[in-house]
């Protein structure tokens, strides 16, 4: 082998090695579940926040409010700062925009048409931020950063109505079908981006703190609770009696914020860092009333949750509840359609199905089956109709949204049974 060929070989090996490291950092196959949890949490926070802001819409963001556009143009005039609200002139337009934005936030939370709704949510959030920058504070910055990453990511593929629609379509063709769970290398890369965002945030926050004497000498926590904005007499009394707690609290904040960006990457230390960060933010929420900020931060930290933790949690839940078998009438089109819709929410695949026409059950007779759907439990108990659904909605996480309908004391059973019986009796006509 010539010298040039050998050096080419070494160079090629080096490139391959860098490529492998690059792949390991950014491009592993991964489901979107951690990002979906962030999406749902951030969506809930946005919906709650902007619904509460509705009565103040014109005051906060209108021309007759705190920041007329003329004043905004004088105070903030960067051409890269854009807002849809710059172009809306009358209150009705603002209310229409707000209604659209809220609808998109709800769709974003539920994961409905997520691939384009997420961009409207980002545009709306930036529009509110830029229309009145004086009202902009920490949590808005974090939201903008996280939303942009969620826009890059292929979200809406799990824990979403988009996934429900996909599963339902497959089950309409074959009730036993289980469409493949989505996973991709790009999902992993976007999860990594969100992790880096949270780590950078903690790093800069810690570095900012250790530059100040108050943090260095350990009395910053006292100063926070005695300051004009975060005065809390109860906490102050406790701290005044035990000033050592002030030192511990101050240094613990720095320790967690400083350790987080370096130690959260290791598999073994990650759980401790996550618990530390969550504990920190719960303190902020309850002692300083920064619950919106804290909730959004915790949702950002969800990107560090290993998908296998969630899989284990799901498996544990499934094992604890035990298998459930729903027996239906395969000759009834309505039954199959409604079963497809129902089973589409069973993300953990807890429910098995059986068509009694092709595969009779040894627990429930065909005569019973002609009258109602049945749910058979591992102890061979068989629950008919409404009671079957009632049992399932409490035990399948994807169906928990139905609990209020099935568990209103007295009313649910009072109306549920006759409604179910009527549908069962008329199912051939539906």
């Amino acid at each position: 082998m010539t010298t040039s060929a050998a050096s080419r070989n070494v160079f090629q090996r080096l490139i391959d090695r860098i490529g492998l490291v690059w792949e390991r950092i950014w491009f592993q196959d991964s489901p979107t579940t951690p990002l979906e949890i962030s999406r749902i949490g951030i969506g809930v926070a946005l919906v709650q926040h902007y619904i509460v802001a509705t009565p103040y819409l014109v005051t906060f963001w209108g021309d007759d409010g705190w920041m007329p556009r003329t004043l905004l143009a004088e105070e903030h005039s960067d051409p890269w700062t854009q807002s849809i609200l710059f172009y809306l002139t009358s209150p009705w337009q603002m209310y229409a925009f707000h209604a659209l934005f809220l609808a998109c936030c709800i769709a974003f939370t539920l994961g409905w048409r997520t691939s384009w709704v997420k961009w409207i949510v980002l545009a709306g959030q930036l529009s509110y931020d830029n229309r009145n920058p004086d009202m902009y504070y920490g949590v808005d910055s974090i939201l903008a950063c996280l939303l942009l990453i969620l826009c890059f990511a292929p979200i809406g593929r799990a824990l979403s109505l988009d996934r429900v629609r996909q599963v339902r379509a497959a089950k309409l063709a074959d009730l036993g079908a289980h469409p493949r769970r989505f996973s991709s290398r790009w999902a992993f890369a976007c999860t990594r981006l969100m992790q880096i965002q949270m780590a950078a945030l903690f790093f800069y926050s810690a570095v900012g703190k250790i530059r100040g004497d108050q943090w260095w000498y350990g009395d910053a926590a006292w100063r926070v609770f005695s300051s004009a904005d975060y005065y809390n007499e109860f906490v102050l009394r406790v701290l005044a009696q035990n000033f050592w707690l002030v030192n511990i609290a101050t240094y613990a904040v720095i320790l967690i914020e400083l350790a987080f960006p370096f130690m959260v990457w290791q598999r073994r230390s990650r759980p401790y860092l996550l618990v530390g960060a969550a504990f920190l933010h719960l303190q902020f929420a309850f002692l300083m009333n920064l619950y919106y900020f804290s909730f959004v931060m915790i949702m950002g930290h969800m990107s560090f949750v290993f998908p296998r933790w969630l899989q284990r949690l799901g498996a544990m839940w499934k094992w604890r509840i035990g298998p459930m078998e729903m027996i239906y009438d395969g000759h009834c089109g309505f039954c199959k359609r409604s079963m497809a819709g129902f089973l589409a929410f069973d993300g953990l695949r807890q429910i098995q199905v059986r068509d009694f026409r092709t595969s009779p059950s040894d627990v429930v007779s065909d005569e019973q089956m002609k009258k109602a759907l049945y749910l058979v439990l591992p102890d061979k108990r068989a629950l008919p109709g409404f009671e079957a659904y009632r049992y399932v909605v409490l035990r399948v996480p994807g169906l928990w949204w139905l609990i209020p309908f099935f568990y209103i004391p007295v009313f649910s059973r009072l109306f549920g049974h006759p409604i179910y019986n009527w549908i069962a009796a008329n199912r051939s006509r539906l």
């Binding site: 906060f60 004086d134 880096i196 965002q197 950078a200 108050q214």
Partner: protein, 176 residues
Amino acid sequence: MPQAIRSGLQRLTYVAMSILLVWHTFAMVIGPAPESSIIGAARSLAQPYLTFFRLQNEWEFFAPFVGPGYHFSYVIEDAAGEKHTFTPADRLNNWHPNSIWMRDRYTVIMTKPDVYGDAAGAALCLEHALLHPVSVTLLEVEHSEFWPVDLREGKRPTDAEFVKAKTLRTVSCPGR
């Protein structure tokens, strides 16, 4: 699609994704970094992206210093010459998001009274119309340090000895 073209497209997608990841990571790290000549040069490259997506933040929560803070207060003078002092933050419910928005509002008024004073004064005259206000005097109340020994002596951070009021502006009520 021929295999060669498909493979080329996949490679191109991979490169594009990698460029986006490097770029965004660069923006996330450079955005909050402290000013220096090298950071300044790097930031100027990313500035439009940082500004457009609001990615430029310092992430300095309560840092490097935690000040005792300020609160906003105002005095309404009514037609009879009587003065009524109000501290609006006292009326806020800390569990309602508007407590944060309102505090931001008060901070802005205190920071730029010349810019926001007229609008704030007009709004306060309207809010207290029942008092028949003639003018509103906007105040910035500066807190001073408060220590455990003060608390043990039964004092509170809002007691007169820990606060110092500074008049920002007096605004006449519209129609007066």
